[in-house]
């Protein structure tokens, strides 16, 4: 015993002794075995692996461990992420030792992976026994309690009983030791009580190591001696299949290592209160890790199976990808800009990590630029199997990024709009800054008037467009007004630039002075051009002045001009020290960037509005159709065709079902929640409603399906229909929205209501402007959960929507609306007809047996996963938005 153990309780135990180190290794060993158990459970490595295969496996494991601990060690050494805890360091060392040891053992011992795992478990058991005994003999200083506790006793008792039943029940010749009592029961009782007593009676250091070691040792012996080996098989009589060693051994290993980590962690933390905490920490964490691994495995499994078909013949233009990448680039740049703390040297390292995402996105962008410049297609060829006429056919296909310079207008609009809103939200205010020119107020009043007039004119075209066309002024008027508008916009975009470039004083002073000019010019330009584009759309006109279309050209010129302004002001800002001026100029830069992205968005909108034309500038083209080719997602099935076809109709069907169900359920649920929480007298009635909604939420979905099929369908045209599906699923969604909305509204503090009432605001206005906004994050959470459930709901859909698997065309819900002169005045063929949907398609392919191709089913399941996750992403974004709005981050 060293001197450190002379004292009873050390406040800080900085140095680990040999015992601690050995226990660290035991913990690490159990972690490694746990991971190996999971790997073998997933069948990634066969249990029968021997020789080189085994060495290779453990060498790979060693590589992973060395890499992982190595990078952490380097960071720790560099003081970036200092690891000071002895336990963490110890476990890391233990991981290294275990991995090296296992690799060496695999090299030396001529055994299979299964035997090896058995031996490792025996070793762990031995370590635990040794640790317990050493502690009991007082050779190390520990703080064990009097007993391991009743809970541990009960758990070990139950495990012991199971083990006893199995062992005694399987031994021959013990059949009738006591007449009338089954022999396995005796074994169970004896071993159960024995293990329980072993855990409870001795001091904690023995009580929590010995029974654990016994069980782990027993499992280890079973595996190591091949009582249950790789070839072992158990086929119960009434089952057609059986249990094999391949599935039982990993379960043994997982269980044993979980137990070992608990026991070893208790030893490492000297038993007692700290020991219980450390032991529970490992069990809980490994458990959570197992859960996450299971969930990840499901996703990975579906992805691996489905991704082949899902990305069949996928190709996209490099420029399109660049457009997608731009918002991400801006976000990562913003991330990199955020302050990195003090000027200490390791804050430099933090700065380095802040720019890593930016560097990654940047290099990806550079790669895409390289593809464009060199004109070579980037290609990942792969092949997958499909079933055609009951025979497997291998399909060769590839994932491509082409050097195409065509970008779809949708992509431009989405990316542009995201960036525009982003910059606009970051832009503060330029109120009362700079010179207020006299004519500016004129413009301020004139532009809204002009926009209003253009809007009115657009409306006129919508209503009496054909009449205008007939008398011959339609096209001319549209053309003239649009061209005039474009010219004015050009002026708006260029005047601020002019004011910035010319004039007196330094650049910064000029930028400060012309703040109002900038503000008015950029905003007015965008508003006016937007109105012009709306006019183009309703007047079906695409003005051309000779070879050029003025609207997109003006938009581009304005975008470039705004970019120039941003660059100039940013330069001026660098040379300014005045804080106030820096802020003003910063706002100007953001505003100019917002304007630039806004104008680019307008180019996309122009193409969308004048639908038949594309806009080309040199080789770059903004088209109706982009350069994305994704047959699986963008096409329907091709009857009798060669290509595998797509599942577009099913995707669209699922999206419409979710949208329809949400449109129906969310307002209704929210309204009911508001009534029940804010208006209704709290009492019997509300309790009853609460019970009813909870019951409705746990009602099996097939019951909803039956209701839809037997009640809704006869009343909705007596055929399988999208509308019936939407309604049925909305009934399922309703209770969850109601429950979560009620909880959210209830949790809004009463102080808000009091404050509002004291200001003389009536109850409904209070609910609308204070209560619901504050409850919104909770409401959205409910909708997210509900949508996740209904998007994948299959059983009711089979009954109300059918299970079509080879749909060729997608439902056109928006285009299906038609107005009639007789009641019901509005009809929709698409809603009253059936449609494909992802979950029903998966089901349909499974039940179709040989005639359906399994890979199509997997691809459908994969896309279903993607669609559901996309809805989640939208919901989480919405929730974050509302939370931010409340908390003003």
């Amino acid at each position: 015993m060293s001197e450190r153990y002379a004292r009873e309780n050390e406040l800080v135990s900085a140095e680990s002794n040999l015992y601690d180190k050995a226990m660290d290794v035991a913990i690490a060993l159990s972690i490694v075995t746990f991971v190996v158990g999971m790997i073998t459970f997933a069948d990634a490595v066969p249990l029968g692996a021997t020789g080189t295969e085994l060495v290779n496996f453990f060498a790979a494991l060693l590589g992973v461990v060395v890499g992982g601990t190595g990078i952490v060690a380097v960071f720790s050494y560099a003081n970036v992420i200092p690891i000071t805890s002895q336990r963490v360091r110890g476990v890391a060392m233990g991981l290294l030792v275990s991995a090296v040891g296992l690799t060496l053992a695999a090299f030396v011992l001529p055994v299979s992976l299964a035997t090896m795992l058995g031996l490792v478990m025996l070793l762990e058991a031995g370590l635990l026994v040794a640790a317990g005994v050493v502690s009991r003999l007082g050779l190390v200083d520990t703080a064990p309690s009097m007993t391991a506790g009743l809970l541990a006793g009960v758990v070990f008792g139950i495990i012991g009983a199971l083990v006893g039943a199995v062992i005694v029940g399987s031994l021959p010749g013990l059949d009738a030791a006591v007449p009338g009592v089954p022999v396995w029961l005796l074994g169970a009782i004896v071993l159960g009580v024995g293990f329980g007593a072993l855990a409870i009676v001795p001091r904690e250091d023995l009580g929590s190591t010995l029974p654990a070691a016994l069980i782990i040792g027993l499992l280890g012996v079973t595996i190591a001696t091949a009582v249950i080996g790789v070839g072992w098989q158990w086929t119960p009589e009434n089952l057609s299949g059986g249990f094999t060693g391949g599935s039982v051994i990993p379960v043994f290993v997982l269980f044993g290592s979980l137990l070992a980590s608990w026991s070893a962690a208790k030893c490492r933390a000297d038993f007692g209160a700290r020991g219980r905490q450390y032991g529970a920490f490992f069990v809980i964490n490994l458990n959570a890790f197992l859960m996450v691994a299971i969930m990840a495995a499901i996703v990975v499994f579906v992805t691996v199976k489905g991704v082949g078909w899902a990305f069949h013949d996928f190709s996209i233009g490099a420029l399109s990808l660049l457009v997608v990448l731009t918002p991400i680039l801006v976000l990562t740049a913003q991330h990199a800009r955020a302050p990195a703390g003090t000027d200490e040297w390791h804050s430099a390292a933090r700065q380095f990590f802040r720019v890593v995402p930016l560097a990654a996105v940047g290099s990806l962008a550079a790669l895409l630029l390289g593809i464009i410049v060199t004109g070579t297609t980037f290609e990942i060829p792969y092949q997958y199997a499909i079933l055609v006429d009951r025979s497997t056919v291998m399909l060769d296909t590839a994932f491509r990024v082409t050097p195409s310079l065509t970008v779809g207008n949708l992509l431009i609009i989405v990316s542009g709009a995201i960036l525009f809103t982003y910059f606009l939200r970051r832009y503060g205010s330029l109120r009362n800054v700079g010179t207020e020119y006299e004519r500016l107020s004129l413009v301020r009043q004139g532009v809204p008037a002009a926009v209003g007039l253009l809007g009115l004119l657009s409306l006129v075209y919508v209503v009496i467009g054909p009449v205008l066309d007939n008398i011959g002024i339609g096209p001319v008027l549209g053309l003239g007004v649009a061209t005039l508008g474009a010219v004015v916009v050009a002026a708006f975009a260029l005047v601020p630039l002019g004011a910035l470039v010319t004039g007196e004083g330094t650049l910064a002073e000029r930028a400060h002075e012309s703040a109002q000019l900038l503000n008015v010019g950029l905003f007015s330009g965008i508003a006016l051009l937007m109105a012009v584009i709306v006019l183009e759309w309703t007047a079906v006109s695409n003005p051309q002045l000779g070879p050029v279309a003025p609207v997109p050209v003006v938009a581009l010129v304005a975008a470039v001009s705004s970019l120039c302004i941003a660059a100039l002001v940013a330069r001026a800002r660098r040379s300014t020290d005045d804080t106030l001026r820096r802020r003003v100029l910063g706002d100007e830069v953001t505003l100019a960037l917002a304007a630039a992205t806004g104008y680019v968005t307008l180019v996309g909108l122009h193409v969308a509005a004048t639908s038949e034309s594309t806009f080309a500038l040199g080789p770059v083209e903004v088209g109706i159709n982009g350069s994305l080719s994704w047959p699986t997602v963008l096409q329907g099935a091709i009857p009798l065709g060669q290509a595998p076809g797509g599942i577009y109709p099913a995707i669209i069907g699922t999206i419409w079902i979710v949208i329809g169900a949400s449109l129906f359920a969310v307002p209704l649920g929210l309204g009911a929640a508001v009534f029940l929480t804010e208006y209704a007298e709290q009492g019997r009635f509300t309790e009853l409603v609460e019970i009813a909604t909870n019951a409705l939420w746990s009602t099996p979905s097939i019951v909803f399906g039956l209701f839809g099929a037997a009640f809704l369908i006869p009343r909705l045209g007596n055929s399988l229909s999208l509308l019936a599906a939407q309604l049925t699923l909305s009934f399922m969604l309703l209770p969850l929205v109601l429950i979560t909305s009620r909880e959210a509204i209830k949790s809004v503090p009463d102080e808000y209501r009091d404050a509002s009432a004291a200001l003389g605001v009536d109850r409904w206005t209070t609910i609308r402007s204070v209560v619901i906004p504050a409850a919104m994050p909770g409401v959205v959470t409910g909708v997210i959960l509900g949508v996740g459930r209904i998007a994948g709901e299959t059983a009711p859909l089979i009954l109300v929507l059918g299970s079509e698997i080879d749909a060729t065309t997608a439902v056109d819900v928006l285009g299906g609306f038609a107005f009639t002169t007789t009641p019901p005045f509005i009809t929709n063929e698409a809603l009253l007809g059936s449609s494909a949907a992802l979950p029903t398609q998966v089901w349909g392919i499974i039940t179709a047996g040989v005639s359906g191709s399994p890979s199509k089913g997997w691809a459908t399941a994969f896309m279903l996963l993607v669609v559901v996750l996309s809805f989640y992403a939208v919901g989480i974004t919405a929730r974050t938005y509302f939370r931010r709005k409340i908390n003003y981050e």
Binding site: G428, S429, Q445, P448, G452, P749, D750, E751, Y752, D754, A755, S756, A757, A758, L759, G760, V761, D762, T765, S769, V770, P773, A774, I886, N887, Y888
Partner: protein
């Protein structure tokens, strides 16, 4: 029966909780008087103690006000007149009914289902407990500031303009903007005026768009006062506005109250007797049992009270 319940600062759901804190006083009828708050001596309340006369016109006059929460008689037969443009402090031990009384003045007790109110409260001679009272108008005229600062989770600007906007005095909607009737300028003026009145403008004028919840407690309370001022009330009721604040913030609020009294009628509930002595023109003392015991000039109450119990309370013998 009376107890803690009278003090409804925090619990609005009074009906559920009718008999906490039995030691604080369980009097069957105070006039005949048995046990009172520990240490409180027994005496009859005399009418002349509460008969406070003043020259200015009465802003609020309360006659024979009784409040019950379920079976609890929380406020007993209170009559008092509150003069215009002055500070009236209401003091008394916990559970004496002063907050209940305050909430009766703008009918906030209507929001408590179990509350029953009898008697009369007149604002400028108009009965506010008339069945046809316009509650919106009433609460616009009689504003209220609560014990704990309760700004909305909105920006500072939106907090101030909330009342006027909801009353339709400020219109900033999309339609208003399209038709050029946007009241942004008016709103900006209102926000600045209210914040200046509440002595908060200099601290927040550069971050009006930040969330009000990001302000410190004292700033939040002044924001609530500014929010109350924005609807241009005539009377401001304050329910222990400084009880959750530190001394510096408290002194700012006190200065503010004194200033406000030049234009507004302020009625303030407080637990802090020094505060009442510092800022109020007249003081009303409520004691256990929900009765108004003495009401007079602040100096008179603190220097020479008529009631022995009031003297005991003020000198700290109980309460």
């Amino acid at each position: 029966m009376n107890n803690q319940i009278g003090d409804t600062d925090t619990d609005t759901d009074v009906s559920t909780d009718t008999s906490t804190d039995s030691e604080l006083g369980t009097t069957a009828g105070v006039e005949t008087s048995t046990t009172t708050t520990a240490g409180e001596s027994e005496e009859q309340v005399r009418d002349e103690w509460t008969d406070y006369r003043f020259d200015a016109p009465a802003k609020l006059s309360v006659e024979d006000l009784d409040v019950w929460y379920g079976d609890d008689h929380a406020l007993k037969d209170v009559s008092m007149e509150i003069p215009e443009e002055s500070v009236t402090a209401l003091i008394g031990p916990s559970g004496c009914g002063k907050s209940t009384y305050l909430r009766c003045l703008n009918r906030m007790n209507d929001r408590i289902k179990a509350a029953r109110i009898e008697g009369s409260v007149e604002l400028d001679g108009m009965e506010i407990y008339d069945p046809n009272t316009n509650l919106v108008e009433l609460r616009k005229r009689i504003g209220m500031v609560f014990q704990s600062p309760n700004p909305f989770p909105k920006s500072i600007r939106d907090n101030i303009s909330y009342g006027p906007r909801k009353h339709g005095d400020i219109n900033k909607g999309l339609l208003a903007r399209l038709f050029g009737r946007d009241d942004s300028e008016k709103e900006a003026e209102l926000v600045e005026r209210s914040l200046r009145q509440a002595a908060l403008w200099d601290e927040v004028n550069d971050r009006l768009d930040d969330n009000a919840l990001g302000l410190s407690g004292g700033q939040q309370q002044r924001l609530c006062i500014a929010r109350c001022l924005a609807v241009d009330p005539e009377v401001i009721l304050m329910d222990e506005p400084a009880s959750a604040l530190d001394p510096i913030a408290t002194s700012k609020i006190e200065d503010l109250v004194t200033e406000l009294a030049e234009d507004y009628t302020v009625v303030i509930v407080t637990h802090n007797m020094q505060q009442a002595a510092r800022i109020s023109d007249q003081t009303a003392v409520f004691l256990t049992g929900g009765e108004l015991v003495e009401y007079d000039d602040t100096d008179k109450i603190f220097e020479n009270p008529e009631s022995q119990r009031v003297e005991d309370y003020i000198t700290g013998k109980f309460g």
